[in-house]
């Protein structure tokens, strides 16, 4: 009796290499200006799903991502690593979604897949660092969550119970619960397996059958069936039966008021010579004004 596993992944700008034009006027991210990568913790979530599939024969790993057409890259990468089914949730009407609107769309997409036992995602994405989408999706599905996990201690598909180890301040706790459950996976456990060369050859040309030209008007639902394993399903707002009011900008209570680039405050630095005398004077001054001593 296999388990149905759904992994939520995200393509993110590589925030470790930010250049000047990374932000647009309206405060949203100019993703085009940054290299796009697989959100690191999501790779660990994917690996956790593979680990479960390895231990419970007959399990299936479904990977979902919401994003622009270019996000197919993380789905291809998921196929290379071993995903059984992947789908891109993409629609103009999802644009500018905050975490609430995102989790609503993900919930609709998960329900489209139908039955599921474990939903997994990375604890947080490096572009927003919010860690909100996991718990919000769990709440919307009406299921329990275990966040920040680094290990699955026990999984009993018969009794439908799972025990996972989650990181907490200064230590960990082991939490047991029933299925279905949503797990958020941190970067401490489940080192991701590399893409397989054979699978890369197989899925190199996998597409959503979508060209950017007809992206605006045409909402392809041809990929919306769970039949084809070697192509990437494309689901738009209709395909996942989502209420447009709850998606994108209109479904997002939070707005970005303004963005400031981080400017270093330089209130005037005093350079001190690297000599015993100069350092001595500085120390003396700091002792005199009670900063030291």
């Amino acid at each position: 009796m296999g388990l149905n596993l759904i992994v939520l992944v995200k393509q993110v700008p590589d925030t470790q290499n930010i250049s000047g034009n990374a932000m647009k006027e309206d405060g949203t991210v100019n993703r085009a200006a940054l290299p796009a990568i697989f959100n690191p913790e999501d790779l660990h979530a994917l690996e956790a799903a593979f680990t479960i599939r390895d231990s419970v024969p007959g399990s299936k790993v479904h990977v979902l991502t919401m994003g622009p057409p270019s996000a197919v890259q993380v789905l291809k990468d998921s196929l290379y690593r071993g995903a059984d089914f992947v789908a891109l949730i993409s629609d103009r009407r999802f644009a500018a979604a905050d975490t609430l609107a995102t989790s609503y769309a993900l919930k609709c997409a998960i329900e489209k897949i139908g039955s599921y036992d474990i939903v997994l995602c990375g604890t947080q994405a490096i572009d927003g660092d919010t860690a909100q989408v996991g718990p919000q999706t769990a709440e919307k599905l009406g299921i329990n969550q275990i966040t920040c996990i680094s290990q699955i201690v026990e999984l009993d598909p018969e009794k439908r119970s799972i025990t996972a180890r989650r990181s907490i301040e200064g230590g960990y706790e082991k939490v047991k619960t029933g299925l279905p459950v949503l797990l958020t996976v941190n970067g401490e456990g489940f080192p991701p397996r590399p893409p397989s060369a054979i699978r890369m050859m197989t899925y190199k040309n996998a597409t959503t059958e979508m060209s950017s030209a007809d992206y605006d008007e045409t909402y392809l639902t041809s990929g919306a069936e769970l039949k084809s394993e070697n192509t990437i399903a494309l689901w738009d707002i209709n395909a996942i039966n989502a209420d447009p009011e709850s998606c994108g900008l209109s479904g997002s209570p939070t707005k970005v008021r303004n963005i400031d680039m981080v400017v270093l405050k330089s209130e005037g630095i005093r350079m001190i010579e690297n000599t015993e005398e100069a350092i001595g004077d500085m120390v003396h001054e700091l002792v005199a004004d009670h900063t030291l001593g």
Binding site: D127, Q132, P135, Q136, E169, K265, N274, G280
Partner: protein, 337 residues
């Protein structure tokens, strides 16, 4: 005064021990409530928490709602979400604040989803101001200010149309107020119906160590970066800290390289500190590091590279090899003090 429209704090407790960040948040809530001319309320969920409740009032809580149940002694997401969501619905605060701890970041998004309201994670500042959008002006909205994009930008987020406005706030960024024993507040016991199905999680085991270093409370911090080079050289950092009565801090690169344990890490993914004096030795001053220490009253930077960004926020800069500078510093301190 009614409890409606208050500024509410979610009090994080475990086994009767309150998280420090909750007390820091009461202080911030007072400041915001004063500007808005409303009350400070708090919600405390647990088992036998009346004594804890009494200890919290002096920090300036006008009304504190408690919900007690033996299944609520430790945090688990489902019952806590149910309880806090009901209290929020009943008392309709305009703002709710949570600590950005593992617990706060676990519960706040679930509550936000249940209430369909906005939530901003990991704020480093909160302010009240107006917000205008498409010709419509909202008065007295909560500015939720946070670093984003790996700390490269500071974003101000608002959620003007739905109440409450909610935010999680990082530990250590708000100052903790002193309690005032004469402060008068009210403790109100609330009850929320809970059935066995509301407790799907069972905590099997918990292992938690008190942090071996108390960076948060430190007045003087001597921090070492990867520029220190080796564990042997890191002894110099320990020696300077010891000599001047400071606590040892570190950059993530130094922690990753195994020069010192993770408990010492300062920065975005470490501890946020605001000491009287911060001495950065062999630290370049990355945005992520600065995010945790740029509120220090005084900063001394010791670095061989005169172009290192740390010099841009330092009050004193010494361009030089820390292996020379630190011994000179220790010698000078011993001579003058």
């Amino acid at each position: 005064m009614t409890t409606k429209n208050s500024v509410m704090v979610f009090i994080q407790q475990d086994d009767g021990k309150v998280a420090e960040v909750s007390i820091e948040l009461i202080g911030k809530a007072r400041e915001l409530a004063k500007q808005l001319n409303v009350q400070v309320t708090a919600v405390l969920v647990g088992n036998r928490v009346q004594k804890v409740a009494e200890e919290l009032i002096p920090y300036g809580v006008n009304r504190l709602f408690t919900v007690e149940h033996k299944g609520l002694a430790h945090y688990t997401p489902v019952p806590y979400t149910k309880v806090v969501t009901q209290i929020i619905k009943k008392h309709a605060p305009q703002i709710v604040l949570y600590g950005a701890t593992t617990t706060g970041r676990d519960i706040a998004p679930r509550i936000a989803s249940a209430l369909r309201v906005g939530l901003t994670a990991d704020c480093t500042d909160l302010q009240i101001g107006d917000y205008t959008s498409r010709g419509q002006t909202f008065q007295n909205v909560l500015y939720q200010i946070r670093p984003a994009f790996g700390g490269n930008i500071i974003a101000t987020i608002v959620s003007p149309e739905r109440k409450p406005q909610m935010a999680t706030v990082r530990e250590g960024v708000m100052k903790m107020d002193q309690p005032d024993a004469s402060f008068k507040g009210e403790i109100i016991q609330e009850s929320v119906e809970l059935s066995p199905e509301d407790f799907p999680s069972e905590i099997i085991e918990r292992v938690q160590q008190e942090k071996s270093v108390n960076l948060k409370g430190a007045q003087v911090i001597v921090a070492g970066g990867i520029g220190v080079g080796s564990r042997e050289n890191f002894e110099l950092v320990h020696q300077l800290a010891h000599a001047i009565g400071g606590t040892v801090g570190a950059s993530r690169a130094a922690v990753d390289a195994g020069l010192v344990s993770k408990d010492h890490q300062v920065g975005q993914t470490g501890t946020t500190v605001r000491p009287r004096l911060y001495i950065a030795c062999g630290i370049s001053g990355s945005v992520q590091h600065r995010a945790g220490m740029d509120e220090s009253a005084r900063i001394i930077a010791i670095n061989t590279d005169p172009e290192a960004p740390i010099f841009q926020i330092a009050n004193f800069g010494i361009v030089g090899d820390l292996k020379e500078v630190i011994p000179r510093f220790i010698k000078a301190f011993r001579a003058k003090a």
